[in-house]
Each structure stands twice: as structure tokens, then as C-alpha cells.
Symmetry: C2
Subunit: 204 residues, 2 copies
């Protein structure tokens, strides 16, 4: 598992490979486990090795998706915490059973300048997260919910099908279930999709 990670990140430095061996631990988590909590100090850098993690902001009853973490990705805020102590401003919940690499942040601090491969990982993570968040931000500011919903469905569809409940969609998009149901119905009657239980089929 760790070996695979080292390979995929092209970590050529033996010394870093050893540090990873010594200092990290691998844990597994079940769907639904909350692995990062808002307002808690971040002590461990978590990198997803297998499975999927949902990172989101919450506010009273509502939630909004920040991003999903897939294998070989890390939460940008934890990575940031490696450089200076900080509390999390997000939550992370396991979306699909997963395996996670845990590295205490204090070890990571210096890797960025010491190991080229780690430096690349850091930069890549920051760059991609920043661009992604910037897009989300602009969409949130300028696009009506209906469009954001439709775009989201398209981005999540596999074989033109999205298997999510209206409630789940609401929590990705920062709104409420009723609003999603209404918009989906409208999209359906516009011939853009078909609705079934726990499943949405996008047409053409």
C-alpha cells in the first residue's frame, strides 16, 4: 500500500522512503466515519490511498462540498497545517471505505525543501486545489443553482447516471432537499433527465 504510494508519487529518494516507513501509519475507515472535524487542530497529514473522502463545509443545517479526495490525494488544509499549526475549517467524512496514510505534521514540515518529489507533491496539491476552489467560487457567485446542479450531475455521471439522493445533492451544493427536488423536476420536464429512486439519468 505504502509502496504503491511511493511509486505513484515517484518518490525516488531513499531517505524519504525510509522516513515514510518509520513515521507514517496506515489506517482503514468505514463509510460514514468522520476523519477530520471542523475547528480541531490538525495534527496529522492524511493521504488517501484507497477509497474516497468527502471534504465539506458546514453551517447549521446546511453543507457545501469542497472536494472529494481520491487515492494519492491529500486534504490541502492538512498540508497547509504542516507549515504552521492551524485548525481545520472543514469536515471530512469517508464516502467509500478507505485506507489512509497518516503522517504527523511535524515531520512533514521540512520535506518540502529537502525532497524534490515531496516538493512537487506539495505544489501540485496547492495548485490544483486552488484552481478548483476558484472555479467553485465563481460558479457559486454567478451561476443560478439550476445550472450548478445540472453541471454537477454531468460531472458526477458515469454512463449518464448519477446515484445520489436529493438530500445528498443538496449537501453537495449548499442548499436544501426541497429545492433540489423542485429543480430536478423542472429539469426532467424540460427533457434533460429522467428521475428514478436514488438515481438520475441524464439524457443525451
Amino acid at each position: 500500500m505504502l509502496h504503491n504510494f511511493i511509486h505513484q508519487l515517484r518518490i525516488a529518494e531513499l531517505e524519504l522512503q525510509n522516513e515514510l516507513q518509520e513515521k507514517s501509519s496506515v489506517t482503514t475507515h468505514k463509510k460514514g466515519d468522520l476523519i477530520i472535524k471542523n475547528n480541531q487542530y490538525i495534527k496529522v497529514l492524511k493521504i488517501v490511498l484507497k477509497g474516497k473522502v468527502r471534504v465539506y463545509q458546514e453551517n447549521e443545517e446546511r453543507e457545501i462540498l469542497i472536494y472529494y479526495l481520491h487515492p494519492i490525494e491529500t486534504c490541502t488544509l492538512s498540508l497547509s497545517a504542516c507549515f504552521e499549526d492551524c485548525k481545520s475549517t472543514v469536515n471530512a467524512v469517508v464516502a467509500e471505505d478507505c485506507t489512509i496514510l497518516n503522517i504527523p505534521v511535524r515531520f512533514v514540515r521540512d520535506w518540502n525543501f529537502k525532497y524534490k518529489s515531496w516538493n512537487s507533491f506539495t505544489i501540485k496539491t496547492f495548485r490544483e486545489s486552488y484552481h478548483h476552489l476558484m472555479n467553485q467560487y465563481a460558479n457559486l457567485a454567478f451561476q443560478p443553482l439550476k445550472d450548478r446542479l445540472f453541471d454537477y450531475l454531468i460531472s458526477k455521471a458515469s454512463n449518464a447516471v448519477v446515484k445520489k439522493t436529493h438530500q445528498e445533492l443538496a449537501k453537495e451544493l449548499g442548499t436544501t432537499r426541497e429545492v433540489i427536488s423542485r429543480l430536478l423536476k423542472k429539469l426532467e420536464s424540460n427533457g434533460k433527465l429522467n428521475l428514478r429512486q436514488k438515481e438520475i439519468q441524464i439524457l443525451k
Copy 2:
């Protein structure tokens, strides 16, 4: 000017000091100049040495603020472009006459791993921008405009006074002038502020 920058960023490496001398140029710009345009390739890393630059997203008639750049700050997207060619997704306009350090992105690519001080600058820039944008995002998702407006006024007030027109505020917050006028009036009648020409006074 450049000397000052080198000092403030604690650039101790003589080699980097020389590279900066050789490869960068310093330019001055007047208020209103558009220095980064949406959808254009980013070829130059621009660092503000003096003055203030407003970075924003636009969509048809509307705009929304991303951040202001102050001295010794750089546009995070340009910094990102140093690692891989990309187009700008934002505009930047000079908000106060300014002096700017320009460094072609191709030179910067390797500095991040070569010079410790530059590495710190990169990380600091990414970290702060990311945290900032994350906050903006959550506010946009969950706070009503009225609250975002009031918070914004407080954050921009000096001596409890904000010297901006309603139109300017609208462009910071991603909405239209009429909406801002209406909300300001409401806040005034709630005793939260006093309105004058081109000026808003926050009460207590």
C-alpha cells in the same frame, strides 16, 4: 525598491538576489490600469512592491472580489502559472498607483526548490490565499448578502469609515448597485451606520 523587497522577504541567497536583479523588471502603473486579463496566458509573475491591486472575477455585468494585493504580495494564480503554463481566470486592476516587480515565469519554476527563502514565499502565498478563498467561499454559500456586506464594511473601515461608492461595493460582493443601496438603507435605519456621499460611517 527591489532591494527593499529582497530585504522584506529575507532573501539571504546572493545567487537569488542576482537572479532577481538580472531577470526582473520594475514597472509603474496608474490607478485603473488593467494588468492581468481573464483568459490570457500568464507569462510574468507580478509582485506588488507599492500600491494596491484588485483581483476579481467577472461575469457579464457583474464582478466579485477575490482579494486585494498589497506590497510584497503576488497573485497566487500567477505563482501557480510558474509551475505549469495556464491562463488567467481572473482580472487584476490597479486600485492605487503602484510599482510592480515582473519576473518571467520560466525563470521562477526552479527557484522553489533551489532557494529556501523563495520556497517560503511560495508556500506562504499558497497557504494564505487558500485559507482566504475558503473563507470567502463559505461566506458566499451560507451568509445572506446583508451580512456579507456588513462584515465587508467592518473589514475595510478605517476609523469606522469606508470610502466607497455603492457601485464599488456591489463589484466587491458580486451583486448590483441597487441591491447594495437598498441593503445599506436598511442597515442605516437599523442604526448600524450612517450614509453620506461616497462614504459610510459604521456606528459603534
